[in-house]
């Protein structure tokens, strides 16, 4: 695993998130569930806790956009880049953006499983950079895994616990 420079991390364990808009590829309930489960992947192994808010600015703002979407890092159309997220910090820090030109799915291997992409992006939101371990969630290349049986790989557990410690409960 690797972290951003100076072990950049949140200096609090209670974080908020907000879903700003939705992809038409999936139902609202499916998006909500995918995002929530992606955050819980990290909460399970750390003291971090996530609360959803519906207005105002959250620590982690989640949105779908295509091409230029307001952050000077335009998406590239179908395929290529699927999503990106910013390291912990104020403002745009922690925010996760998903490329609307991709086809996101709830669990099918036809398209990209939003849960898997989001779990990876939230790793960045929490302070993890890319891993060179091909089996790690934080490996930069997408590979399908069954979301119903997903277990956070050891490399990612070690990475996130190096920043926040383990789950006290």
């Amino acid at each position: 695993f690797s972290t951003f420079g100076n072990s950049l991390k949140w200096e609090k364990n209670s974080l908020t998130y907000r879903i700003e808009n939705y992809t038409p590829d999936m139902s609202v309930a499916e998006v909500d569930d995918s995002i929530n489960r992606a955050l819980q992947v990290w909460a399970k192994v750390t003291p971090l806790r996530f609360t959803r808010i519906y207005s105002g600015t959250a620590d982690i703002m989640v949105s779908f956009g295509r091409q230029s979407h307001g952050d000077y890092y335009p998406f590239d159309g179908p395929s290529g880049t699927l999503a990106h997220a910013f390291a912990p910090g104020s403002g745009i820090g922690g925010d996760a953006h998903f490329d609307e030109d991709e086809m996101f799915t709830f669990s099918s291997n036809r398209g990209y499983v939003l849960f898997l992409v989001a779990a990876h992006e939230f790793g960045h939101s929490l302070g993890l950079s890319h891993s060179d371990d091909p089996g790690a969630l934080m490996y930069p290349v997408y590979s399908y895994r069954d979301p119903s049986t997903f277990v956070l790989p050891r490399d990612d557990v070690n990475g996130i616990q190096s920043l926040y410690g383990s789950n006290p409960s």
């Binding site: 690797s2 951003f4 420079g5 950049l8 890092y73 998406f75 395929s79 290529g80 880049t81 699927l82 999503a83 990106h84 997220a85 910013f86 390291a87 490329d99 991709e102 990209y112 992409v117 990876h120 992006e121 960045h124 950079s129 890319h130 060179d132 091909p134 930069p140 290349v141 997408y142």
Partner: protein
């Protein structure tokens, strides 16, 4: 003579990829004419990261990896 499997378009694609994800800067001036080129250095860095055969040259295996769907955060770097 081996037939090249890499097109001019592939080279341009690879340069953009390395600029985006491996912090490759523009090649300028005569200093790039000597020694190992920045492109070759960055290709080696990328091949090492992904566990590919390290050649420093753009080959089919490297190009295939570059074209896989991926996250848009530069590897090992903070997007400033």
């Amino acid at each position: 003579v081996p037939v090249s499997e890499v097109t001019v378009q592939d080279e341009s694609f690879a340069e953009n990829y390395l600029k985006n994800f491996f912090n490759m800067t523009e090649q300028k001036g005569p200093s790039t004419r000597r020694g190992i080129s920045p492109l070759s250095k960055k290709l080696s860095e990328m091949q090492r990261f992904f566990g590919l055969h390290i050649t420093g040259a753009l080959d089919g295996e490297t190009l295939e990896m570059m074209k896989k769907p991926r996250c848009g955060v530069p590897d090992g770097k903070i997007a400033r």
